[in-house]
């Protein structure tokens, strides 16, 4: 593996808090979702990001975003259950209530023919990517946080609030097996902590990674970023990778670089947070960047040369009145950090 050290070459200010970021299939456009009912678009030229017209008309928070692997089609969703397919600013199809409430994640099948969605309404749904027609649905019985297609498109894995990892066939007809990712979950009094936040197939589908945190306490979570490695064929948990102190919290985003290494971002106690790069079999990351606070998303450019991390401004927390210079109520924002490998 080529353990290249990334270098940050630009930081773009944003007035909003970003929870997800992804590049289009050709790398020309970056989209972001976050704590606002808007999906923002940015033109990327290899040097900087320039704002493009945003996608409006969402509600609550924009949450999930995913690009078609071959077409310039963007699938995006919000916390009120809307699911939309866009090409540029144009809406190709849309469901106002694809889920009852918070639509948490979208996965696109490797061939781009189907998309899968999951939500707080405890459903996993399968849609025709071209038309938006609902193809199938599965009542999961829990708030489903994450999902992913296997690289061959034959399986769909999803993980829920309680760390239950279910594998189903690609058309959602029958559950094949359930894997135990309950290390990512804990009940603390009446709070369900943690949950399976990110799923990622690596090694051509031989390994399935389930990421989140190892929960310790409720209310203000103090916990360690965690990645569970499952042998996909047998379902066996082969490795538990943790990194950082218990203030580091959750792995919020996890991708695999074409060179094979994993790239993850974390956010925990305000002010903490990091980007780390590690080889899947290594005990320690070969690169750790703690200069960015509370990182929530990582968008890897398709060519593997660039990536973007969204973080949170320092001093994002505070009890009671915290007013700006002009007496205004202070808000937080997410700088976009541009890196090259």
């Amino acid at each position: 593996m080529n353990n290249r050290e990334p270098k940050q070459f630009a930081e773009i200010k944003s007035e909003h808090q970003i929870s997800a970021a992804r590049f289009s299939h050709d790398g020309s456009v970056l989209v972001t979702a976050g704590y606002e009912p808007v999906v923002r678009r940015w033109q990327f030229d290899g040097k900087t990001l320039a704002p493009l017209p945003s996608l409006e008309g969402f509600h609550g928070y924009s949450t999930a975003i995913a690009f078609h692997p071959k077409l310039p089609h963007l699938f995006c969703a919000d916390t009120w259950g809307q699911l939309r397919c866009c090409e540029g600013e144009k809406t190709l199809w849309q469901h106002g209530a694809a889920h009852d409430g918070w639509l948490r994640q979208i996965a696109v099948s490797p061939d781009g023919g189907r998309i899968a969605t999951c939500g707080k309404d405890q459903f996993v749904r399968l849609w025709d990517a071209a038309t938006g027609k609902k193809l199938a649905e599965h009542a999961a019985g829990e708030d489903v946080y994450a999902l992913a297609f296997s690289p061959d498109g034959q399986d769909l894995a999803f993980g829920d609030m309680r760390g239950r990892l279910v594998v189903m066939d690609h058309d959602l007809k029958k559950p094949q097996r359930t894997l135990d990712a309950s290390a990512l979950y804990k009940l603390d009094r009446i709070q369900d902590l943690g949950g399976l936040r990110v799923l990622l197939f690596i090694d051509g589908g031989k390994t399935l990674l389930a990421a989140g945190t190892t929960p310790q306490n409720g209310a203000t979570p103090q916990s360690v970023p965690t990645i569970l490695h499952f042998d996909f064929a047998s379902g066996a948990l082969t490795r538990t990778f943790t990194h950082g102190a218990n203030k580091e919290g959750f792995i919020h985003d996890l991708v695999q670089h074409p060179d094979g290494h994993l790239m993850a971002v974390t956010a925990g106690t305000p002010g903490s947070g990091m980007l780390f790069l590690t080889n899947p079999a290594d005990k320690e990351p070969f690169h750790v960047n703690t200069k960015m606070a509370n990182c929530h998303s990582l968008a890897l450019h398709p060519d593997g040369k660039y990536f973007v991390v969204t973080s949170t401004n320092r001093d994002s927390n505070g009890n009671g009145r915290s007013l700006g210079k002009n007496g205004e109520y202070k808000t937080n924002s997410s700088p976009l950090h541009l890196f090259e490998m």
Binding site: E36, G60, I190, P270, G320
Partner: protein, 421 residues
């Protein structure tokens, strides 16, 4: 119209009252009034969401606004009033509730805030004020049941918390039942006969009398009251036992500690306990606020709404003042840990039952939920309101601090008229 009198109006009325010659009586101003109060079996259920429940994810949603969070709002049984979607059961019972959305209090720290809120944050008199439960225990007494007047059902350990009572003296402290269970060794040991037990108690009484000659009166009273409480509880050990209830009841309240503690609280109220506090811990969501509330608020919604239904069905809602609050709310802005921090500036308290106006929203916050837009209310106003709801005139009733008359609630505040029936 401003529902508040000015502080000056209030001071005048109190002075005028004291000038009437009743102020020097100490304790309850009028024993006759006290007797009337005792005759009425008013009770209080005080639900404490420790750490600070988010007003935006519960009573005062601001959907689709800058700080409104991810959730939708839903209609309630009162037209025009919306709750967060996480409270569907309580939304159907809004017509029983009175929600004050304009709370603006002073303290943004747990360490001091919990005490300040539960003591009503009165003016500094150099003595610790009693918690509301202790105040009610003092003013209304144990009632006909004779059971401990101020009990506290909480997760974790139990015990007697004398400090709640402040200057009222340890007798009015809270008796905490850890995990809703009775105190250890509550029942008489099977090896001890009733006669032996009685003989032991006689001996204890005799020793107590000797003890009393050399001790402060209120310490002696507290000491004796512990034995009285134990005696009453021994006779009513059944109030801790929910296993005899229909399975449906236990399901309705939720198979979690808060739900089951609320069910024990219902039994305590049914048995006639004057003041029942139930605490739910874990609401200090500085991190992962939305997922935390998504899992916790529905459990609160389930148990609290089941309680309201049952109190109404049994008729107890007519005589029980129900209060739900925290030490503060949570910040509108979202920190980097996806959390909300402490926010005393604009938050909500919910009430139901005896003495409050049902189906009412009092006050409002601005569109973003950052500040109170209407008349703000501090906790002192709530103490006035609660005492008034219980039939105690906070302007004409005083505590006796060893001969020093002290107001039972902040003496520059008055009840919220809109909140009262």
């Amino acid at each position: 119209m401003n529902p508040l009198c000015t502080p000056g109006d209030h001071l005048l009325s109190r002075r005028a009252f004291l000038g009437g010659g009743l102020g020097a009586l100490g304790g309850l101003i009028s024993p006759a009034v006290a007797e009337v109060m005792r005759e009425r079996d008013k009770q209080v259920l005080f639900v404490w969401m420790d750490g600070g429940m988010s007003q935006l994810e519960s009573w005062d949603p601001k959907p689709d606004t800058e700080f409104g969070g991810p959730f939708r709002s839903i209609k309630t049984s009162v037209p025009g009033v919306h709750f967060c979607e996480l409270m569907p059961k309580l939304a159907k019972q809004m017509h029983k509730l009175c929600v004050v959305r304009s709370m603006c209090t002073k303290d943004n720290a747990h360490s001091s805030g919990v005490d300040r809120i539960q003591r009503g944050d009165p003016k500094n008199r150099g003595v610790p004020y009693p918690h509301f439960g202790s105040g009610v225990a003092k003013l209304l007494g144990p009632g006909a049941s004779g059971l401990p007047p101020y009990v506290w059902i909480k997760p974790g350990s139990g015990g007697f918390r004398a400090e709640d009572a402040g200057f009222l003296g340890p007798k009015y402290g809270s008796l905490a039942f850890g995990d809703g269970k009775p105190p250890e060794n509550l029942l008489r040991h099977p090896d001890i006969s009733a006669e032996q037990d009685s003989a032991r108690n006689e001996l204890r009484s005799m020793l107590d009398q000797r003890f009393a000659t050399k001790r402060e009166k209120r310490v002696v009273e507290a000491n004796a009251s512990v034995f009285d409480m134990a005696e009453k509880l021994m006779a009513r050990a059944d109030i801790f036992d929910t296993s005899r209830l229909p399975e449906r009841d236990r399901e309705r309240y939720g198979r979690n500690d808060f739900g089951q503690h609320m069910l024990v609280a219902r039994q305590m109220l049914e048995a006639g306990v004057r003041f029942v506090k139930v605490t739910s811990y874990g609401w200090d969501t500085h991190g992962d606020n939305f997922n935390a509330h998504a899992t916790m608020v529905p459990k609160f919604d389930q148990a609290f709404s089941a309680m309201l239904e049952d109190l109404e069905a049994s008729g107890l809602l007519k005589t029980t003042l129900v209060i739900c609050l925290s030490e503060f709310g949570r910040t509108p802005r979202i920190n980097g840990h996806v959390g909300r921090d402490h926010w005393p500036e604009a938050w909500s308290i919910a009430m139901a039952g005896h003495g409050v106006r049902h189906g009412t929203i009092v006050g409002e916050t601005n569109d973003k939920g950052t500040w109170v837009k209407s008349q703000p209310y501090d906790i002192g106003s709530m103490f006035h309101t609660w005492y008034r709801a219980l039939g105690i005139d906070p302007l004409r009733t005083e505590f006796d601090n060893a001969g020093q008359p002290l107001p039972i609630a902040h003496d520059e505040m008055i009840p919220i008229k809109e909140a009262l029936a």
